[in-house]
């Protein structure tokens, strides 16, 4: 408690300088976490693909073409086109094929996941919606009324597949992503009763697939295997890193300089006081305790500032990439520990060596 109090006095003594330090460190931490968040998203998008345990292809049909049964031969193939995302007021309906929907790893809060049923339209709904498990309701889609029954509930942060995304270099992060539907109702169903517009893209699931078949498919569609999607994602990440390389180098240099400056400023800022403390009985161990207490106040300031930055960023632009992941936490903690220990080490050495000269 004594050291917390003394640490606070050190913090308060040069309040403006400490606030500048806090803002500097918080901004650096925010940028580090933002960058890491982008990387996390690539990793996460690729991980979705690991869920697909069957042989799987993503396709985009060429104009005027379609897959014929002859093309599949004797193989058991499930073709599940992606339908459009239907918006009715505050309600969003996603209609996936049963296989496709199974691979979305939305965690159930209650109930069960949808199953194929020709009689009724089963659906899962988001937790922020108006429906509960067991409810049935009517929904009008393109002038036709459908009856849905709710079999499960999921969180409002939902993993979805965007049916409209098409690219000649399709990447997994274009296909799978998370969206927050808080205060809105999301209905995920799997039925061929609701046929809405398709974009000519979808998934093919095979029991067995050889390279000759893929070549045949390529005549009428752009085909992507799991490896293609992963490779394209990696290539995009690499190209982004390369494009921003000068910026990354500059930022790294600034970060190292700021880290050193922070340490030096911290020590010089409090040097005289620590020397006086040393004169009246502060030894090396107590110096460490005192500086740790001072850094606790600094870290508290950083936590508050980083939250403010995050709130402002949420309003100004999309920062959903910044996730609380293990690598984010580890990197942030490591960065702060570097600043703390370099400052403390520098301070202890400097004070033990010089206090006799300057007092």
């Amino acid at each position: 408690m004594v050291y917390l109090n003394l640490g606070y006095k050190l913090f308060r003594r040069k309040l403006f300088l400490n606030i500048v330090l806090i803002i500097q460190l918080a901004v650096i931490l925010f940028i580090i976490n933002y960058g890491l968040g982008i990387y996390n998203n690539y990793v996460k998008a690729n991980k979705y693909l690991d869920n697909f345990d069957q042989t799987f292809l993503y396709y985009t049909l060429r104009d005027g073409y379609n897959f014929s049964d002859e093309l599949f031969g004797n193989n058991e193939v499930i073709n599940e086109p992606l339908y459009s995302r239907i918006e009715t007021g505050n309600c969003y309906i996603f209609n996936y094929g049963i296989h496709t929907s199974t691979y979305l790893k939305n965690q159930l809060i209650s109930g069960r996941w949808i199953e194929e049923n020709s009689q009724i339209i089963e659906c899962v709904v988001s937790s922020d919606g108006q429906y509960d498990v067991g409810d049935s309701f009517l929904k009008k889609i393109e002038h036709i009324e459908y009856k849905f029954i709710v079999v499960g509930k999921i969180k409002s942060q939902i993993e979805i597949i965007d049916p409209s995304r098409k690219s000649y270099e399709m990447k997994s992060n274009m296909l799978f992503y998370e969206e927050n539907f808080s205060n809105r109702t999301v209905i995920i169903c799997s039925t061929n009763k609701i046929i809405s517009k398709t974009y000519g893209n979808g998934f093919l699931f095979f029991d067995n697939l050889d390279s000759n078949m893929i070549d045949e498919f390529r005549n009428c569609a752009k085909i992507f295997t799991i490896d293609d999607l992963k490779q394209n994602t990696l290539n995009e990440f690499k190209s982004q890193v390369t494009a921003y390389l000068p910026l990354i180098i500059c930022f790294t240099i600034i970060m190292i300089i700021s880290l050193i400056l922070t340490s030096v400023i911290n020590v010089l800022n409090n040097r005289k006081i620590l020397e006086i403390y040393n004169l009246y009985g502060l030894d090396s161990l107590k110096t460490i305790k005192l500086l740790l207490a001072y850094f606790l106040w600094l870290i508290l300031g950083i936590i508050i500032t980083i939250n403010i930055i995050f709130m402002i960023s949420l309003i100004l632009f999309d920062v959903s990439n910044v996730c609380l992941k293990l690598n984010n936490v580890l990197l942030s903690v490591s960065f702060l520990l570097c600043v703390i220990f370099s400052s403390i080490g520098f301070a202890v050495i400097l004070i033990n060596r010089t206090h006799r000269r300057s007092i």
Partner: protein, 221 residues
């Protein structure tokens, strides 16, 4: 109580060695009021710094209560400076942004006393003894030189030390304030505290029971 044997302090500048104090051997007994005098640059402050364990000698032996003080052991030195010695150096080393109370409380933060009430009482007693209690809640930067000197002395005595070291305690003080400070030191000596003062002020010398005269770092008999 304190014994120095063949103490040397050498500073090296531009590869040239300079003796700040040279072959000093002295003994200070309990209850003495010792004055270290000499012209500027004689080594008064250096000797006082060594005596108070603020600085370490280059060579020689320092004994406190017949035990050798090891200047490599920072923790031991810190404890001596905190509990056994009261130190008031020339520039006082007060923290301007702290109040008088906070400045005087400072040595108690690092002492073995844990009780908040005892600490508070010790600070009040030290301030009262130094006649500066009325400025308890004032910030040091707002005080006059004489008041700051009293705060410095209050901080030196707050932990009830055995020996009090003062470096030029009356410099830049008017006559009236100076006499007040000297009376304070006399009272401390009368209650059994050993006092060591580095000074070139004749008025201070008159209060001393023993004088150590230095010139060019050496004791002049």
């Amino acid at each position: 109580m304190i014994e120095l044997r063949n103490i040397n302090k050498i500073y090296t500048t531009n590869n040239r060695e300079k003796f700040a104090v040279k072959d000093i051997s002295i003994k200070i007994d309990k209850g003495e009021f010792v004055g270290i005098i000499g012209p500027s640059g004689a080594g008064k402050s250096t000797l006082l710094h060594i005596l108070s364990c603020v600085d370490s000698p280059t060579t020689g032996v320092y004994l406190f209560n017949e035990n050798i003080v090891d200047f490599k052991k920072q923790k031991e030195l810190s404890q001596l400076r905190n509990s056994t010695f009261g130190i008031c150096l020339q520039n006082l080393n007060l923290i301007e942004s702290y109040t008088v109370f906070e400045n005087v409380l400072l040595p108690l933060h690092f002492s073995k006393r844990k009780d908040k009430k005892t600490k508070y009482e010790a600070v009040i007693n030290a301030l009262e003894f130094s006649n500066i209690l009325f400025e308890k809640d004032s910030f040091v930067k707002k005080l006059s030189s004489g008041e700051k000197q009293r705060v410095g002395i209050a901080r030196a005595i707050v932990n009830n030390p055995e020996v009090i070291f003062l470096d030029e305690p009356t410099s830049s003080l008017d006559n009236q304030t100076k006499m007040g400070i000297l009376m304070l030191l006399k009272e401390l000596n009368e209650i059994g505290k050993t006092i060591v003062v580095a000074t070139h002020d004749v008025d201070v010398i008159n209060y001393c029971t023993r004088i150590i005269k230095l010139d060019k770092g050496e004791i002049i008999n």
